[in-house]
Amino acid sequence: MTNSVIALRGVRKCYRLGKVEVPALSGIDLEIQGGEFGALAGPSGSGKTTLLNLVGCLDKPTAGHILLDGADITETSLDRLADIRASKIGFIFQTFNLLPVLTAFENVEYPLLLSGVSRKERQERVHEWLYHVGLTGQATQRPDQLSGGQRQRVAIARAMVTRPVLVLADEPTANLDSETAAQILDLLSSINGETGVTFLFATHDPAIIARAHRRIRLRDGRIAADERNHQLIEGVLNAR
C-alpha cells in the first residue's frame, strides 16, 4: 500500500438550490492507497455519495483538485472522463443498474466493448468473471430472470471485467437480504484480497463498515474521522 490511487486536495462541492448555494463537501483532503478496502460512512446528507461521485469522475468539484492514479482529472473533458471511467473505474450500485435488455453475459461484456477489447479476449474475460462470481450457468439470462443477489454479482463482474484500479460501490448491500448481503460482501472482500483492486464503499451497513480496512466518517461535508483497522490490513497483507 504505497501507491495512491485517489488523492483529493482541498475539494469543495456546492449545489445550487434556487438562489441558495448549499455546501455538500467542504475542504476534503483524502488519499486512498492502492488495494484499500475502504468505507465512507456517515449519516444521510453527510456527503458520502457526493464524494463517491467526485472520486468516480461522475461529477466535478466546485474547488480543489482530484488526482486519479497520479493524474489531475479536475479539468479533464467529459469525453476523456468517460474513457477514464471505462478503463480505470468500476461501479457497483445499490439498485444493481444492469441493462434490462442485455443478458448477464452481455451486461458484463458491454464495458469491454467501450474499451475496444477484441472479441476473443472479451469472451475469455467475461467467462472468467462470470465464473468468478458464480454465474456461469446464468450467462444467457436477462436481469429480470435473476435474483437480487445474482444481479449484484453480474454488476460486480461488470465492474471487475475491465481490470479497474478502483471500484466504487454505493450501498451495494442495501437492496439485499442479510444472508445475500453477507455473501456479496464476502465476494467483494475476496476479490479485493485476490486482485488487490481498491474498493471504496459509501454505506450505512454496519457489516460493511466492520469489514472495511479503513473507515472514513463524514459529517456535514467534512471528514470527521479516518480510522484504519490494522488487524484486518495485516490479515490481508499476510494472505497476499
Binding site: N53, G56, L58, D59, L78, D79, A82, D83, R85, A86, S87, F91, F93, T95, N97, L99, P100, V101, L102, E106, E109, Y110, P111, L113, L114, S115, R158
Partner: protein, 404 residues
C-alpha cells in the same frame, strides 16, 4: 452491441411501440394508397386526354399556332403523305391520324343546334378508342356522308342510327355549305359538355363539306407516352432537314385541364403528406421522450460505466430509425396488399364533376410512391428522434443515476 440494445429496447414497451408503429404503418400505407390513386388518376387522365383528343404530338402548317385564321383551314396542311410516311418510319410511332375540327349548325329539319365537329380517318379513329359507342356502329373507311353524334346532341336532336341530320358550315372560301349526313351511331366521351355538342364525320365528308383537300392537323400517336419529347426533338430536326413547313406541339402543351388536375391533386397530396409527417414526428418524438424519461437511470448507468454522450445520442437515434424502418416495411406491405385488394375489388366511383361516367377505383403501385412512403416513415422517425436523443445525451450523470 449498440444496435442490439436499440433493437431490443424497441420491444421493451410493446404496447407503446405498437401504437407508434401503427401510426407509421397507417401513415406509410395511406401515402401509398392515396399516392397510388393519384398516380392512377394522372395516368388515366393523361392517356385519355392523349387518345381522345390530342395525340402525343400534333403537326400543323407553319403559322397555325401564331396566326388567327380568317377562314377555315387557312393554315391547313396540303399534302401530308410524305410527312406521314417519314414520321411513321420511326419505330416509336404507332400511327398518324389526319384530323379537321370545325363548327357549324346541325339541323333535323325541325330544330337546329351548334355543333363541334371532328373529321377523322375512321379506321385510325377506331384505333384511338377515343369514344365509347352507345348505339349503332362506328364510322368506317370508304364512307363520306355518315356521322356519329354525341349522346347529349343525339338526345337533343332526337335522332337514332339511320336518321339524317344536316350540317351547315363555312367553307374554306368563306361561303356557306350544307350537307346531309346519315347517323350511324351515337357515342359518349364522358365529358357532358362535349357530348352535348359533338359530332364525328369521315375526313372525306368534311373535305367535301368544307370544299378543300386540306387537313387541319396531323396527330402522331406513339407507343410510349414517355417518348414524346424525344420524338418531337427528332421530328424537328427532320422537318428542318427536309424543309417541311410545319410546326408542332406535344400533348402536354395542349392539355391545360390535365395540368390543372395534376396541380390540384399534388397540392392536396402535399397537404395530406404534411399532416401525416407532423403526426408521425409528434408520435415518434413522444415515444422516444417517454423512453428517455423511463430510462433516465439507465442512461446514467451507461454514462457512468464509460459510454460517451455521442453514443447515447446514437442509441436513441438508432431506436427512432429502427422504429421507422420497421414501420416503413410494414407500411409498404400493408399498403401494397391493401392496394391490390382495392384493385381486385372493382370498386366503382361516381362520375367526377363534368363527367357522365363513373370509373373504377384503382391504385397504381409506382416504385417512386413505394420508395417515398418508406422514406417518409424512416426519415420522419429518425428526424423526430434527434431532439429527444440529444436531450438524453445531455443528461447530468449524477442526476440521472438519482432519477426514480
Amino acid at each position: 452491441m449498440l444496435a442490439k440494445i436499440a433493437f431490443r429496447n424497441i420491444f421493451r414497451n410493446r404496447r407503446r411501440t405498437l401504437i407508434t408503429l401503427l401510426v407509421l404503418v397507417m401513415g406509410a400505407a395511406g401515402m401509398i394508397l392515396f399516392g397510388g390513386y393519384k398516380e392512377m388518376n394522372f395516368w388515366g387522365l393523361r392517356e385519355t386526354t392523349i387518345r381522345n383528343r390530342l395525340g402525343h404530338l400534333q403537326l400543323y402548317r407553319k403559322g397555325y399556332l401564331s396566326t388567327d385564321s380568317q377562314k377555315p383551314l387557312e393554315y391547313g396542311l396540303d399534302d401530308v403523305a410524305q410527312i406521314r410516311a417519314a414520321v411513321e418510319k420511326d419505330p416509336r410511332v404507332a400511327m398518324t391520324a389526319a384530323q379537321i375540327t370545325f363548327m357549324g349548325l346541325v339541323s333535323n329539319g325541325e330544330k337546329s343546334e351548334t355543333f363541334l365537329g371532328t373529321a377523322v380517318e375512321p379506321a385510325k379513329d377506331r384505333q384511338m378508342r377515343s369514344q365509347r359507342l352507345e348505339t349503332g356502329r362506328e364510322l368506317t373507311n370508304g364512307e363520306m356522308d355518315t356521322m356519329m353524334v354525341g349522346r347529349g346532341l343525339a338526345r337533343s336532336m332526337n335522332v337514332k342510327p339511320g336518321d339524317y341530320l344536316t350540317l351547315m358550315t363555312t367553307t374554306v372560301t368563306g361561303s356557306l355549305n350544307a350537307m346531309d349526313f346519315r347517323v350511324v351511331g351515337t357515342f359518349m366521351t364522358g365529358v357532358k359538355e362535349y357530348d352535348d355538342r359533338a359530332i364525328k364525320v369521315p375526313l372525306s365528308g368534311a373535305n367535301y363539306l368544307l370544299n378543300t383537300k386540306k387537313i387541319e392537323k396531323l396527330l402522331v400517336m406513339l407507343k410510349q407516352t414517355e417518348d414524346t419529347d424525344a420524338v418531337m426533338a427528332d421530328l424537328k430536326v427532320l422537318a428542318v432537314s427536309r424543309n417541311w413547313p410545319i410546326e408542332m406541339r406535344t400533348w402536354s402543351d395542349l392539355a391545360g385541364f390535365y395540368h390543372q388536375v395534376v396541380l390540384i391533386f399534388n397540392g392536396i397530396f402535399g397537404f395530406i403528406g404534411t399532416i401525416v409527417f407532423v403526426i408521425v414526428v409528434l408520435s415518434v418524438a413522444n415515444t422516444i421522450m417517454m423512453n428517455i424519461f423511463e430510462r433516465t437511470r439507465e442512461i446514467g448507468t451507461l454514462m457512468a460505466i464509460g459510454t460517451k454522450r455521442k453514443r447515447i445520442w446514437a442509441l436513441f437515434l438508432l431506436e427512432g430509425a429502427m422504429i421507422g424502418l420497421i414501420g416503413g416495411v410494414l407500411g409498404l406491405l400493408f399498403g401494397a396488399v391493401f392496394g391490390q385488394i382495392i384493385n381486385y375489388a372493382n370498386i366503382q366511383l361516381p362520375p367526377p364533376p363534368g363527367y357522365t361516367a363513373g370509373y373504377q377505383l384503382r391504385i397504381l403501385m409506382r416504385p417512386s410512391i413505394l420508395a417515398s412512403s418508406f422514406a417518409l416513415s424512416l426519415v420522419t422517425a429518425t428526424l423526430s428522434s434527434i431532439y429527444p436523443a440529444f436531450k438524453a445525451s445531455r443528461l447530468n450523470i449524477v442526476d440521472a443515476l438519482g432519477h426514480i
